[in-house]
Each structure stands twice: as C-alpha cells, then as structure tokens.
C-alpha cells in the first residue's frame, strides 16, 4: 500500500486489479480506439496537407485578373432596356490597367507572402511535324519562383529565361521530341511567332500540367500575345492557404481588380476535403462513444458486484464523495492508460504505414507529420471520456444506501 497515495487512489487501484481481466480488456479496447483515432487523424491530416501542397505547387493561391468585361445593354428610359436578351461579351486578352501600381499595392498587404506578374495565353508549340496546343506563361523568374515552386520541379537544364528561352514539361518534350538545347516554334492566335530554345524541362507530377504548360520570359510572352508592357494577371502567394478567400476579397476591394482564390476555383476539391474531415470526425465520435460505453459498462457491473462492499465502506465512515471519486478515478485511469497504449499503437501504425506507403522509387508517397500535440489531445480526451463514462456508475455507487446495500 503506497503510503503517499490517498484512500481513493489505493482503493481504485485495488478494485481494478481485483477485476484484472475486465480492466485489461477495457484498456485494450480504449487503446485500440485511441490508436485508430490517432492513426486516422494523422493520416488524414497528412493526406490533406499533402494534397494542398501538391495542388499549390503549380497553382497560385490567388490569381488577380482584370475585371470581366460586360456588355452594357442600351437603355431607353429609366425602366426598360431596349434589348431584352443580352449576349455576354467575349473576354479578350487584356492587360491589367496600371499593373505595377496594383502589384505594389498587393505586395504591401500583410497576409501576402509574394506576388508576381504573369502574362499568359494560349499558343501552339511546333517542332517538325509535331504540334501541340500549350498554355503559355510569361514569367519574371525571380519573383515567380517565390509564388510557384517551379525551381524544385526542374528535372533537366537550368531555369534561365532569356529572350529566346523556353521551359517545357516532360510530356511536351516527349510529344515534340525536344530535349535541352533543341529549338521549337511557338505561335499564338494573335500572329506572334518566336523560335525558342528549350532551356529546362520540368516535371510537376501531373500529366496535364507537364503536357500543356510552357514558361517563357515575360517580354517574350508580351511580344507573342501582343500585350506590350502589359501583364494578364498577378499571381499571389499567401501566408495561410486557407485564408486565401478573405485575402482575395481584400485585394478585390483595394484594387478594383478581380481576385480569384484557389478556394473558389476549386470548390469541388474543397467539398471533397470537407467531406473527408467530416467522416473523420464521425469515426472519431463513434470510436470515442464505443470506448466510453465500454468503460461505463465495466464500471456499472463493478458497482453492482461490489455494492455490498461499497455499503460496508460507507458504514465504516467512507463519505459519498470518497466513493464517487473512487469510481471516477477508475474511469479516468482506464481512459488514460488506454490512451497511452493507444498512442503507442497509433504511432506504430504510422511507422508501418510509412514503410508500406512508398512510391516505386522508394520515396514516401506523402509525409505524415506525427505531432506530439495529437497524442496529448488523445490522452487528455480519453481521460476525460473515461471520467465522464464513470459519472453514472460512480453516482450510483455513491447513492447506495449502506443499510440497503448490506441487507440486500
């Protein structure tokens, strides 16, 4: 008997040791539940941050473009328009009005990490008999690399964009049969044509991107798209990807330009993520509930089994509060110990998963960040759940009338 432990603790430990099989079973149950929760949470958090990271690799969180052109119907008087049917206007490629001013304004915003001017438009890449339609992006490499991680994706050559250089994706290189130093022709619908040298080849790990995207210098793109001195959009990187929509609205309000966040342009993707988070929450809820019911049922049985002993304890001067705490402690203990084993179990699952989930080249498919915070939350949560689960049995034990308990 530990001389420093209080009565409730000593009795709680002995009661649990007495019903060792039950206690161990429920601890294993809690451990499994916590293990699953820890594993699932880490997995889904890792999965989501990985998807977001990969998506934002080749996509700017916010793209600022000139406001849409709208057709203004002619109006007769105040009330009625002459034309009842208004055909929407085709959107021609235009420069952002006074883009240098807008860029500076955007860069000053506190939540903006970086911003870069971009000239983009459609074109054709031609080499010999092969031709491919491409989406051309004219960039200022220094500032562009701060927004889009293009630099890490270069698999061949160097990312130098002189007036006659072009950077293409692996798929396009294959389609055109072009490698580093080869020349290809880029033409646009506006009549611009340039012969460019492949300076580098990138691989974003996305077939569509690797096939369609080409990068040229800002000047080159301006010439090809007949947009001298102008830019078609400003790409913005933000500190916190999930705050992109509010920042986009701020930009829109301040510059009068149209700012589209990745949250708005990928609504489907976000719905899918939200659904995933919701199902994760539901699974956690039900696993937690199951563990709680397990603890509660074990303690209810224990109270029934020990009702005479509890009555005697009460007859000997044990207070209701002591009896209450005695059972709450058991619940808390089973929850805590279960969660410790569960955290270890979850961690082991994650390690195994790391070993299994690897791309063919041996690199992990995605990185799961094992956060200590997750384990702390799991331990605290399980202890709380255990205590709450013990409330009903504990109150039942504390309410036992000693005379009835002994007589019955």
């Amino acid at each position: 008997m530990n001389r420093y432990a209080p009565f409730e603790w000593i009795a709680a430990m002995r009661f649990m040791r007495e019903g060792l099989a039950q206690t161990l079973l429920i601890i294993v149950g809690v451990a499994l539940g916590v293990g699953v929760i820890v594993f699932m949470s880490a997995l889904i958090a890792g999965l989501q941050s990985n998807i977001i990271r990969r998506t934002l690799n080749y996509m700017a969180p916010i793209v600022v473009v000139p406001p849409e052109q709208v057709a203004r119907p002619q109006r007769g008087d105040e009330k009625s328009a002459l034309a009842t049917l208004v055909q929407p206007r085709s959107q021609q490629l235009r420069s952002i009005d006074q883009w240098q001013k807008a860029l500076a304004q955007i860069r000053r915003l506190p939540d903006v990490a970086a911003a870069t001017p971009v000239v983009s438009g459609p074109g054709f890449a031609l080499r010999g008999d092969a031709s491919n339609s491409v989406s051309m992006t004219g960039i200022e490499p220094d500032s562009y690399l701060q927004v889009i991680g293009l630099g890490d994706k270069i698999v061949a050559g160097r990312l130098l964009l002189g007036a006659s250089d072009i950077v293409i994706g692996t798929e396009l290189g294959k389609d055109l049969g072009a490698g580093i130093g080869d020349k290809l022709r880029l033409t646009t619908a506006r009549g611009g044509t340039e012969t460019l040298t492949v300076a580098a080849i990138f691989d974003f790990g996305n077939r569509g991107v690797n096939e369609r995207n080409v990068y040229v210098g800002l000047r080159t793109a301006q010439n090809l798209l007949d947009l001298a001195g102008g830019v078609s959009s400003i790409n913005v990187k933000v500190q916190e990807p999930f705050a992109a929509e509010t920042i986009a609205q701020t930009i829109q309000g301040q510059t009068g330009l149209q700012a589209d966040s990745w949250i708005k342009t990928n609504a489907q993707f976000f719905t899918a993520m939200a659904a995933q988070s919701l199902s994760n929450t539901l699974i956690r809820l039900f696993v937690g509930l199951t563990a709680a019911l397990g603890i509660a049922s074990v303690l209810v049985v224990s109270v029934v089994q020990k009702s005479k002993e509890i009555g005697i304890l009460r007859a000997m001067g044990t207070t209701r509060g002591q009896v209450l705490r005695l059972f709450l402690l058991q619940g808390a203990f089973m929850g805590l110990v279960g969660s410790l084993f569960g955290s270890a179990l979850g961690w082991a699952f994650l390690m195994v998963w790391r070993g299994i989930a690897r791309a063919p080249d041996g690199t992990p498919i995605f990185v799961i960040a094992v956060e200590p915070k997750l384990f702390l939350i799991a331990a605290a949560g399980a202890t709380l759940v255990g205590t709450l689960a013990a409330v009903i049995p504990a109150r039942r034990a504390a309410r036992l009338d000693p005379a009835v308990a002994i007589r019955g």
Partner: protein
C-alpha cells in the same frame, strides 16, 4: 435525558417502512433503552421482531421516524448525511453476519480501511495499530494474507478487528457467528469478549443463539418491535 456516561440512549424510537403509502408498516413501536459504557449486551428475539432494523437505526444506517437517538450523549437524529457518516465512522463499529471484507485487500489493509477512509492517506501508525488489533483477535500471522485465503472464522475475526479500528465507543454485531461452526463461533465470540474486557468498548450483539446470549452480561428481548424483557445476566452462571 441521556446520561453522559451512557454510550447509547434511545428514547421513543419508532421506525416505519413505506411511510406515506398504503403499505406503511411500523416495525419498531417506541423503543427506550440505553447502554452504559463497557456493557456487553445481547439483543435477542424471533425472526421479524425488528432486531436488524433496530441495529440499523442505532448504527445510523437508517434514520428513525420518531424519537431520539443519542450516541455518547450527542443527539444523532438531527445530523445531515456527511455528519452522520462522520459520527458513524468515528463512534460505531460494525460486525455483520457476513464479514464483508474487501477481497482486494489483505487482512491488515482491511483493518486499516476505516482509519484510511477517515484520514485520507495511510501512515505507519495506522499500520501499527491495525497490526495490534489483528494480534488481539489472534491473527497476527495472517495479516498479509488476502482475506479470500482465510477461513470463515478468521475472516470474521478480521471483521471484528476492523470494527475496532476507529476505537469506537460502540460495536454493533449482527449475528456475528451466524455463519460459523461452533468452534469458530466460540473463537469469534471470545475475541469480542476480550476486546470488551481490555478496552471497555460497549457491545450490542444481535443473536438467535441462546447459548451465545447466555454468555453476555445483559439480555434484551425484542418481540414484534417492542422490548419485552431486559435483564442482567451472569455469564457462566446459567
């Protein structure tokens, strides 16, 4: 009036069950009696006479419906649950027909339990006095055994030692030997007598066994919830 020298005093104690319903039954119809310090009394009576009910009322396990109950001169009827629990723990020891020891604990720990519950944490003095009590009931050798490893008589003697742990003024024993064979019963009874002689603790023993009653100093007979006889007895003289 309760006299200060009395350990226990009952005045007009009535107890009913199912009060306020058509099934209301009065079990005790006005009980008056007292126990002086150091008395060793037997409470006898046929089954259903209200002996156990009376014991529960005296033991502060069941509140009386009417009348007054004094423990060591203190009116016990007006205390709240916490105060009752405290007074019960301090002043009254229980020995039941069944020992009700906690099987998860050793004999020594079971004897320590009431003091432990009252003080909150174990200490050496607690352990020493529990060991002394076990010694007194002749179980010094068995003190570190789990109670499930003891014989029925030994278990009941542990229960006797436990009832004395708080140095109560009054020990209530409900058929303490009812489950035991004659030899074990004698051992337990002797243990009770010895404690009574050595420490002057007051005992009230409910029993069916006339042989046992004859070995007490006083015999109180309860029939249909009324005391019908109450006379001194000289043990060994019958």
């Amino acid at each position: 009036m309760a006299e200060d020298r009395d350990t226990l005093r009952l005045e007009g104690v009535r107890k009913s069950y199912n009060t306020g319903t058509p099934l209301e039954t009065e079990v005790l119809h006005g009980i008056d009696f007292g126990l002086a310090r150091g008395e060793f009394a037997a409470l006898i009576g046929p089954s259903g006479s209200g002996k156990s009910t009376l014991l529960n009322v005296i033991g502060l396990l069941d509140p009386p419906n009417a009348g007054s109950l004094f423990i060591e001169g203190r009116e016990a009827g007006r205390l709240d649950d916490a105060q009752t629990t405290r007074l019960r723990g301090r002043a009254i020891g229980f020995v039941f027909q069944y020992h009700y020891l906690l099987p998860a604990f050793t004999a020594l720990e079971n004897v320590m339990m009431p003091v432990l519950a009252a003080r909150g944490r174990p200490d050496e003095e607690m352990r020493a006095s529990a060991a002394e009590l076990l010694d007194k009931v002749g179980l010094a050798r068995w003190r570190d055994k789990k109670t499930s490893e003891l014989s029925g008589g030994q278990q009941q003697r542990v229960a006797v030692a436990r009832s004395l742990a708080m140095k109560p003024a009054l020990v209530l024993a409900d058929e303490p030997t009812g489950n035991l064979d004659t030899k074990s019963a004698d051992g337990v009874f002797e243990a009770l007598r010895e404690v009574n002689r050595d420490s002057g603790t007051t005992f009230l023993i409910v029993t069916h066994d006339p042989r046992l009653a004859q070995r007490c100093d006083r015999i109180i007979e309860l029939v249909d919830g009324r005391i019908v006889a109450d006379h001194p007895n000289s043990p060994g003289g019958g």
